[in-house]
């Protein structure tokens, strides 16, 4: 079980690896598409890498609901708790 801060830091690392964006720019209120300019293929790569890193499953139909970084952090935290 990781804290929200740990999940955010891990997610920022994955986003950095995929897109080159500075990890500190990956903040809770940032939108993946609007603010971080992440396209659908990058998003799926980030999702797959996050599943491996956090040991959770993020169903494809759930991905469209993950609009912001915060949405993803909450989902991962919830999935880890379940």
């Amino acid at each position: 079980m990781a804290s929200n801060e740990e999940i955010l830091a891990g997610l920022a690392e994955i986003v950095n690896e995929e897109t080159g964006l500075a990890p500190e720019s990956v903040e809770m209120d940032k939108s993946f598409t609007e603010d971080l300019d992440i396209d659908s293929i990058s998003m799926m790569t980030i999702v797959v890498n996050a599943e491996e890193k956090f040991g959770v499953r993020i169903p494809d139909e759930e991905v469209k609901n993950l609009k912001t970084v915060g949405d993803a952090v909450s989902f991962i935290a919830g999935a880890q708790a379940a």
Binding site: E18, G20, I41, T45, V48, E52
Partner: protein, 411 residues
Amino acid sequence: MTRKVVITGLGATTPIGGDVPTMWKNALKGVSGAHTLEDDWVAKYELPVHFAARCSTPALEVLSRVEAKRMDPSTQFGVIAAREAWADSGITEVDHDRLAVAFATGIGGVWTLLDAWDTLKEKGPRRVLPMTVPMLMPNGVAAAVSLDLGARAGAHTPVSACASGTEALHLGLDLIRSGKADVVMCGGAEAAIHPMPLAAFSSMQALSRRNDDPEHASRPYDLDRDGFVMGEGAGALVLEAEEHALARGARIYAELAGTSVTSDSYHITAPDPEGLGATRALKAAMFDGRIQAEDVVHVNAHATSTPVGDKPEYTALRAALGTHVDNVAVSATKSQMGHLLGASGAVEAVLTVLAVYERKAPLTINLENQDPEIPLDVVTSSRALPAGDIVALSNSFGFGGHNAVIAVRSV
């Protein structure tokens, strides 16, 4: 009136240089790019061949990590070479709707394909990343170059095994002559130094097994040649309609005077022993460029260093050029950089253009005992090419019976 097509930009990343100036300096000096492979997979899979000719500058030293992640290694090499050629051309403004791409590969994204297969077997389908398809497709390199340059007049991928790179120039010439484009980024890229292709080429007895002496393994025309050395990399050339180049005051290296493609229809891998398909290709390229045998001063030969391949090319050269073949300076540059498969024709085209432009022929190394059945005038030490109007040819032949020839004329 046929449109005249000229070459105004050159790019390359190869086992003997990560850019054109370095490659050319080494090609005139005579160096080997072949080295023992340090990868653990050589022993793990008990590969019969322990060496290859890797690019001297790793792609990750040129591209950003994020950029490289979305490209197969073959595409990485292609984009590096295309960017160099584009910068070299000095083109600052272009009608993007009149800019095309003809960028070849022999095999395509083999690393991506096989890595994804390993991932599927080890971790399941969920871990096969979404970029896998665009990275493994053979047109991936042409598509990436087109995106990079904003080329919107078509992005083509000729695939004809080891003739692919030369066929890209054949297509590029046609695109400009027929008025479909004014500028074409042509080239070829390959990155197949992976255990599977090494095993497969070994299994057909195509690769040299001189494991204790990789630097001397690629020895075209030598009596002790025993196969080719796998290389990797890319070459790129900017083709431009002459009037387009003149209008912008471009530096013109040479004219792409003629090209041709023929097919043997003889055997799936063996060359026609009489070199009939290659002869027809040579004659067709010369006809296309209105070239007489006496105009030809230099040939960059396909010459891979296989026991069966080198001789039919000689037979074809003699058939096409007649006794004048004795006056032609022949370079077998695969002796230095190995065989870049689908990229070889493009890289050798770069060398051929420079030979005409600089009036110097690149060296053939490792020729100790020349095969008496191949009495060509092989360039083994510094050789100047004559002044005046000159023509050089570059040949490429591929499994499947593909023959492609280009003719480059001085301007």
